[in-house]
C-alpha cells in the first residue's frame, strides 16, 4: 500500500508540533506513536469506549475517530498537558481519594469527559453525571466511585463560587 502522506502542524499541549503523517493515521495513533504521549489510550478503535478521549480546539473528541491530518492547525490537549495545569487538580484528587480508578486505563478519558461536564457549571445530579459519562467504558469500578468523585468536585466548586 502506497500511503499518502501529509505535512501537518498542530499545537499539542501548547507546543507546536510539525510532522509528516500517513493520511490514514488516527489522531490517537499520532499522539501515542509520533508525539510519544501515551496517556491517551486505545480501547475499541471505533468510538465506543472513550479511552482515547482528547480535546481538540477545546472540545472532547474521540482520538480514534479523527485523523491526524484533520487536526492540521488545531489545538490538541491530552491528559499530560491538562494535568500540567491546575485545571483538574481537584478532580484528580477526588478520583484518588474515592478510588475512582482501579487499573487506570480509562481514567485519562474519564477525567477529560467529566471536566467537560463540570466546566459547564452548576451541580449536576448523579443521573446527569452518569449520562454524561455513558460513553466512557470502565470495566473495573462499576462507575459508582467515579460518579461520587465527580459529584463531590461539582459540589466543592459550586460552594467555592458561592463563597467568593
Amino acid at each position: 500500500m502506497n500511503a499518502q502522506v501529509h505535512d501537518i502542524i498542530m499545537t499539542v499541549n501548547g507546543e507546536e508540533t510539525r510532522a509528516t503523517v500517513d493520511a490514514r493515521k488516527t489522531l490517537v495513533d499520532f499522539l501515542r506513536d509520533d508525539a510519544a504521549l501515551t496517556g491517551s489510550h486505545i480501547g475499541c478503535e471505533h468510538g465506543v469506549c472513550g479511552a482515547c478521549s482528547v480535546r481538540v480546539d477545546g472540545a472532547v473528541v474521540r482520538g480514534c475517530l479523527m485523523l491526524a491530518v484533520q487536526c492540521d492547525g488545531a489545538r490538541v490537549e491530552t491528559i499530560e498537558g491538562v494535568a500540567e495545569t491546575d485545571e483538574i487538580t481537584d478532580l484528580q484528587e477526588a478520583f484518588i481519594a474515592r478510588n475512582a480508578l482501579q487499573c487506570g486505563y480509562c481514567t485519562p478519558g474519564m477525567l477529560l469527559t467529566a471536566q467537560e461536564l463540570l466546566a459547564a457549571g452548576g451541580v449536576p445530579s448523579r443521573e446527569q453525571i452518569r449520562v454524561h459519562l455513558s460513553g466512557n467504558y470502565c470495566r473495573c469500578t462499576g462507575y459508582q466511585a467515579i460518579v461520587d468523585a465527580v459529584e463531590a468536585v461539582a459540589q466543592a466548586r459550586h460552594s467555592s463560587r458561592e463563597t467568593r
Binding site: 500500500m1 502506497n2 500511503a3 500517513d22 490514514r24 493515521k25 501515542r32 506513536d33 504521549l37 501515551t38 496517556g39 491517551s40 489510550h41 486505545i42 480501547g43 475499541c44 478503535e45 471505533h46 465506543v48 469506549c49 491528559i79 499530560e80 494535568a83 484528580q92 478520583f95 484518588i96 481519594a97 474515592r98 478510588n99 480508578l101 482501579q102 487499573c103 487506570g104 486505563y105 480509562c106 481514567t107 485519562p108 477525567l111 448523579r126 452518569r130 449520562v131 459519562l133 455513558s134 460513553g135 466512557n136 467504558y137 470502565c138 470495566r139 473495573c140 469500578t141 462499576g142 462507575y143 459508582q144 466511585a145 467515579i146 460518579v147 461520587d148 468523585a149 463531590a152 459540589q155
Partner: protein, 798 residues
C-alpha cells in the same frame, strides 16, 4: 456526597500502634494514572522494536492447503512473514490438562496453526513489520488456501455419533466429565412435597479488558536472555512457560509486568499469539510487540460461561430443601486452555452448587465438550455466577411454589453460623461462614419490608418492580489444591522481601501483582503496620521475575490473603532483626523495644530511643561501631501458603431491586446490595470497590453481554458496538455491608473479596426479574442475558 468509608474500620487483636489495617488508605500508585504517566505494556517501545500482526482464520474449521507469502514479504516495512510450520521449529506446542481433573484430555496447540485452523480467529500466519499498520498491510497480501471442514458448534450435539470429532486422535469431543453423588438424592426427591425442575442457560461472554492483551518480547542474543514485558496476572507462571516451550532455562527469562489495563482472569492464560510473539523475537533476534486490537480480543481472549444446566430441587412444604440435582454441559472451543485447563469452570459448578445450604442430597454431572469456537477458560468468579444462579434460582422458584418468602426459605436452609466447620453438598470444606448474620444485615440495610410494601403499592399502578436475592459462597486464597497438585507450575505460595533502606524507609518486593485491585496498597498497609513505619515510608516492587520472590501473582482473590500474610510475617521478621540491631546500639534488651512510626521506642512507654534513619546510618556506614561479632540483617523474606484449608471460603448475600417495563422489556436497575464476609478487612474502601466492580461485571453477564455465534461458528458481534457492556447510565448505586469472620489459617485473617460481586449479581437479578413478572404469569426467565426480547417472549408479547 461525602467521600467516606462505607464501613467503619474493623480492628483486630493484631493491631499495633499506628496500624493501617482496617483503614481506607489511598493507593500509592494512583496519582500517575490520573496524569497520563502510567506505563502500560501497550505504551512500551524499545530500540529496533518491530510489530507483529496475524493473519487469522476466517473459518471456524478449515484445512490450510497453502500459504503464499511472497507478496507480503516485499510489502513496504515488512521484515518477516512466518508460518506456523516455520515457527514450530522455535517453540513447542502445549496441551492443557491437569492430572487432578481425572480423564481431562486435549490436543497439542501450536503458537500459530499448523495444517489446520480450529476456530474463527486462530492465527495462521505472522507478519512482522516496522509498524503495526505496515504489518497489517502485509497480512492483506498473504494468500492462504483453505479447505473448509465441518464445524462443530452446538455443544448439545457435540457428543452425538454423527458429529465429526475435532481431534480424531482423542476419540471423541469429550474434554472432561465429572459425576458426583452425595447423600441420597433419590430419597431426597421422594421426601419432597414439591419438585421444581428447569433449565438455566448462561450466555458466552468475555472479559473486555479496556487495555487489550499486550506483550513486548526482547530476545537478547548477547545475553542469551529473553525479557518479556507482558500485561499478565502471573509473571512467574509465564516465565516457566516461555522457558519450557522455547527450550530455555527459567533464569534466562525475565517477565516484567508494568501497569495492566484490566485483567479479570483474561490475562492469566497462555495465548497462542503471545507465545508466537516471544518465539518471533527469538527467531528474529529483536524486540517484537503485539497488541491485540478489539476484534482480535473478541475472537481470541478467552470466553467464559456458556453453560446449559438442567437443574432440579426438592422441597417440603415447610420450606426445607430435600435434594439437588444438576446436569451441566459446556462447550469450550477446540482446545483446553493451557495451563489451567478449561475444565475448571464446570468443576467449580459441581463443587459450589447448593454450597450455602445444609441439604446434603446431591447429584451432579458436568460435561465439557470441544467445539469450533474461540476457547473458553477461567474468568472472574469462575463457576460461581453459574452455581449461584442455579442454586438461588431453584430456591426462589421453590419458595414461590410453596408460597414462602424468599428470605424465609433461606433462613430455614442456610448452614447455621454456629455449625462450623462444615461442608457443602459436594463436600467442599468451610472453616467458618456467616450466612445468617449476613442475611439479617442485608434485611435491615435494604429495608426489605419497606421495599415489599412499595412494590405492592406500585403494582396496583401497573408498575412492575422485583426484588431478588442470591446467597453465595466464594473460593479465595487457594492452596496448591487448585493447580499445583494437578501438575501445573503455578505457585500457590507467595513471598515478600522487605529491606530497610539507608534512610529508614522500607522497600517491599512481592510476588503478587497489581492490575488495579489495590494489591500494592494492601501490601504497603500490612508491611507498614507489621514493621512500624508510616505508610509513605514504604515502596512496593512487584511484577518483575528478576526482582521479586517467587510467587503466583494475583488471581482467585489471593493477593491480600496470601501476599498480605507474607508481608505481615516479613514485617515481623525484619522488625526482630532491626530490634536486635537497635538493642546492640542502645545496650538494651530487644524485647523492651519496638518500632513505631519510623523510630525505635521503649515498648512500655513509647519514648523514642533511636530514629530508624540513624539505625540505618550506623548499620550501613559505621558497622565498625557495632559490638564485635554482631552483623545487622536489614532484609527479611517470608513466604506463606494456606495449609489448614484447601480454600478460604467466604460468603455473602446480594439483593437486586429493579423495574421491568412490560411494554418494551427493558430492565431498569434501581438499587443493588451486597453483604459480604471476607474476614479481616485490610482496606474497607478497596474491598467495597472490588465488590462494586464485580457486581457490575455480573450485571453485564445477566443483562447485556453475549458472544453470539452463528451455526457456522462465526462470531457475529465481535465489537463493542454490538457486544454490550455495562456503561455508567445503566448501572445502579450499590450498597455494601460487611460481616467479619477472619480465617484462623493466617495471623492476618484476611480472605479474598474479588469474586463476590460477580458471583452473586446474575442470580439476584434473575430472581428480581422473575419476582417482578410473577403476577403477570410470565414463564420464569432462566436464559441469560435477559434481553428485552427474551423478557417480552416470557410475557408472550412477541
Amino acid at each position: 456526597m461525602k467521600i467516606t468509608d462505607d464501613s467503619p474500620p474493623t480492628l483486630s487483636a493484631l493491631d499495633r500502634p499506628n496500624s493501617y489495617i482496617g483503614r481506607s488508605v489511598p493507593r500509592p500508585n494512583l496519582a500517575r494514572l490520573t496524569r497520563g504517566r502510567a506505563q502500560f505494556v501497550s505504551d512500551v517501545t524499545l530500540p529496533r522494536m518491530a510489530h507483529v500482526a496475524f493473519v487469522r482464520s476466517p473459518h471456524a474449521h478449515a484445512r490450510i492447503t497453502a500459504i503464499a507469502t511472497a507478496a507480503a514479504k516485499t510489502s513496504p516495512g515488512v521484515i518477516a512473514v512466518v508460518t506456523g510450520a516455520e515457527l514450530a521449529k522455535v517453540i513447542t506446542p502445549w496441551v492443557g490438562v491437569l492430572t487432578h481433573l481425572k480423564g481431562i484430555k486435549s490436543a497439542p496447540q501450536h503458537a500459530i496453526a499448523v495444517e489446520r485452523a480450529c476456530w474463527q480467529g486462530e492465527a495462521v500466519c505472522a507478519v512482522v513489520a516496522r509498524t503495526r499498520a505496515e504489518a497489517e498491510d502485509g497480512c492483506e497480501l498473504v494468500d492462504v488456501g483453505y479447505e473448509e471442514l465441518p464445524a462443530v458448534t452446538d455443544a448439545e450435539t457435540a457428543l452425538d455419533a454423527g458429529t465429526p470429532v475435532i481431534h480424531p486422535e482423542l476419540g471423541d469431543n469429550l474434554t472432561f466429565e465429572r459425576v458426583l453423588v452425595a447423600g441420597d438424592p433419590d430419597q431426597g426427591f421422594k421426601d419432597a412435597d414439591v419438585v421444581v425442575e428447569t433449565t438455566f442457560v448462561f450466555g458466552r461472554h468475555t472479559g473486555v479488558t479496556n487495555e487489550a492483551r499486550a506483550i513486548v518480547a526482547d530476545w537478547n542474543s548477547g545475553d542469551e536472555r529473553l525479557t518479556v514485558y507482558q500485561g499478565t496476572q502471573a509473571p512467574h507462571m509465564m516465565q516457566n512457560l516461555f522457558a519450557k516451550h522455547l527450550g530455555l532455562e527459567e533464569h534466562q527469562v525475565r517477565v516484567l509486568t508494568k501497569d495492566v489495563g484490566g485483567s479479570f482472569g483474561i490475562k492469566v492464560h497462555t495465548y497462542a499469539d503471545e507465545m508466537a510473539t516471544v518465539a518471533l523475537s527469538k527467531l528474529l533476534k529483536r524486540p517484537i510487540k503485539f497488541v491485540a486490537d478489539r476484534i482480535e480480543s473478541f475472537v481470541t481472549d478467552i470466553h467464559a460461561r456458556d453453560h446449559r444446566v438442567k437443574a432440579k430441587i426438592g422441597v417440603k412444604s415447610d420450606g426445607s430443601i430435600t435434594a439437588w440435582e444438576i446436569d451441566d454441559l459446556t462447550g469450550i472451543g477446540p482446545y483446553s486452555v493451557y495451563p489451567r485447563t478449561s475444565g475448571i469452570e464446570a468443576n467449580q459448578i459441581v463443587n459450589l452448587t447448593g454450597g450455602p445450604y445444609t441439604c446434603p442430597n446431591y447429584r451432579a454431572r458436568a460435561r465439557v465438550v470441544f467445539q469450533n469456537k474461540n476457547v473458553m477458560c477461567q474468568y472472574r468468579a469462575v463457576g460461581h455466577p453459574i452455581a449461584t444462579a442455579v442454586t438461588e434460582g431453584l430456591v426462589e422458584l421453590a419458595a414461590a411454589q410453596i408460597g414462602m418468602d424468599p428470605l424465609e426459605i433461606r433462613r430455614r436452609n442456610l448452614i447455621p453460623d454456629d455449625a462450623h466447620p462444615s461442608s457443602g453438598p459436594s463436600g467442599i470444606k468451610f472453616e467458618a461462614l456467616s450466612h445468617h448474620e449476613s442475611l439479617a444485615h442485608l434485611d435491615a440495610m435494604m429495608n426489605y419490608a419497606g421495599l415489599r410494601a412499595e412494590q405492592k403499592r406500585l403494582r396496583a399502578q401497573g408498575i412492575y418492580r422485583g426484588i431478588g436475592f442470591a446467597s453465595f459462597v466464594e473460593v479465595t486464597n487457594p492452596s496448591a489444591a487448585f493447580y499445583g497438585i494437578g501438575g501445573a507450575k503455578i505457585s500457590a505460595q507467595d513471598g515478600v522481601t522487605i529491606r530497610l533502606d539507608a534512610q529508614g524507609a522500607i522497600i517491599c518486593q512481592t510476588g503478587v501483582t497489581e492490575q488495579g485491585q489495590g494489591a500494592e496498597a494492601v501490601i504497603a498497609q500490612v508491611a507498614a503496620s507489621s514493621f512500624g513505619v508510616p505508610i509513605d515510608r514504604v515502596r512496593i516492587i512487584t511484577g518483575d521475575t528478576d526482582n521479586t520472590p517467587y510467587g503466583g501473582g494475583t488471581w482467585a482473590s489471593r493477593a491480600a490473603g496470601i501476599g498480605g500474610e507474607a508481608a505481615w510475617q516479613a514485617g515481623k521478621a525484619l522488625r526482630a532483626n532491626v530490634l536486635a540491631c537497635a538493642a546492640s546500639i542502645l545496650q538494651a534488651k530487644p524485647e523492651n523495644l519496638d518500632i513505631r512510626n519510623g523510630a525505635i521506642v521503649d515498648s512500655g512507654t513509647g519514648t523514642e530511643r533511636l530514629p530508624l534513619h540513624e539505625l540505618a546510618r550506623i548499620a550501613y556506614f559505621r558497622p565498625d561501631t557495632l559490638p564485635p561479632g554482631f552483623q545487622a540483617e536489614l532484609m527479611a523474606t517470608r513466604h506463606y501458603v494456606p495449609r489448614a484449608w484447601p480454600f478460604a471460603f467466604t460468603n455473602g448475600i446480594q439483593a437486586s431491586y429493579l423495574e421491568v417495563d412490560t411494554e418494551s422489556g427493558f430492565v431498569t436497575l434501581l438499587k443493588h446490595w451486597c453483604v459480604e464476609d471476607c474476614g479481616t478487612v485490610i482496606n474497607p474502601q478497596l474491598v467495597d470497590e472490588q465488590i462494586r466492580g464485580g457486581v457490575v461485571q455480573g450485571l453485564g453477564g445477566a443483562l447485556f453481554e453475549h458472544c453470539i455465534y452463528d451455526e457456522r461458528g462465526q462470531l457475529t458481534n465481535g465489537n463493542m458496538a454490538d457486544y454490550l457492556v455495562p456503561m455508567a447510565a445503566e448501572m445502579p448505586d450499590i450498597e455494601i455491608g460487611h460481616v467479619v469472620t477472619p480465617t484462623a489459617d493466617s495471623e492476618l485473617g484476611a480472605k479474598g473479596a474479588g469474586e463476590a460481586g460477580t458471583a452473586g449479581a446474575p442470580g439476584a437479578v434473575m430472581n428480581a426479574i422473575n419476582d417482578a413478572l410473577r403476577p403477570l404469569g410470565a414463564k420464569p426467565l432462566t436464559d441469560m442475558p435477559f434481553t428485552p426480547g427474551r423478557i417480552l417472549q416470557a410475557l408472550d408479547r412477541v
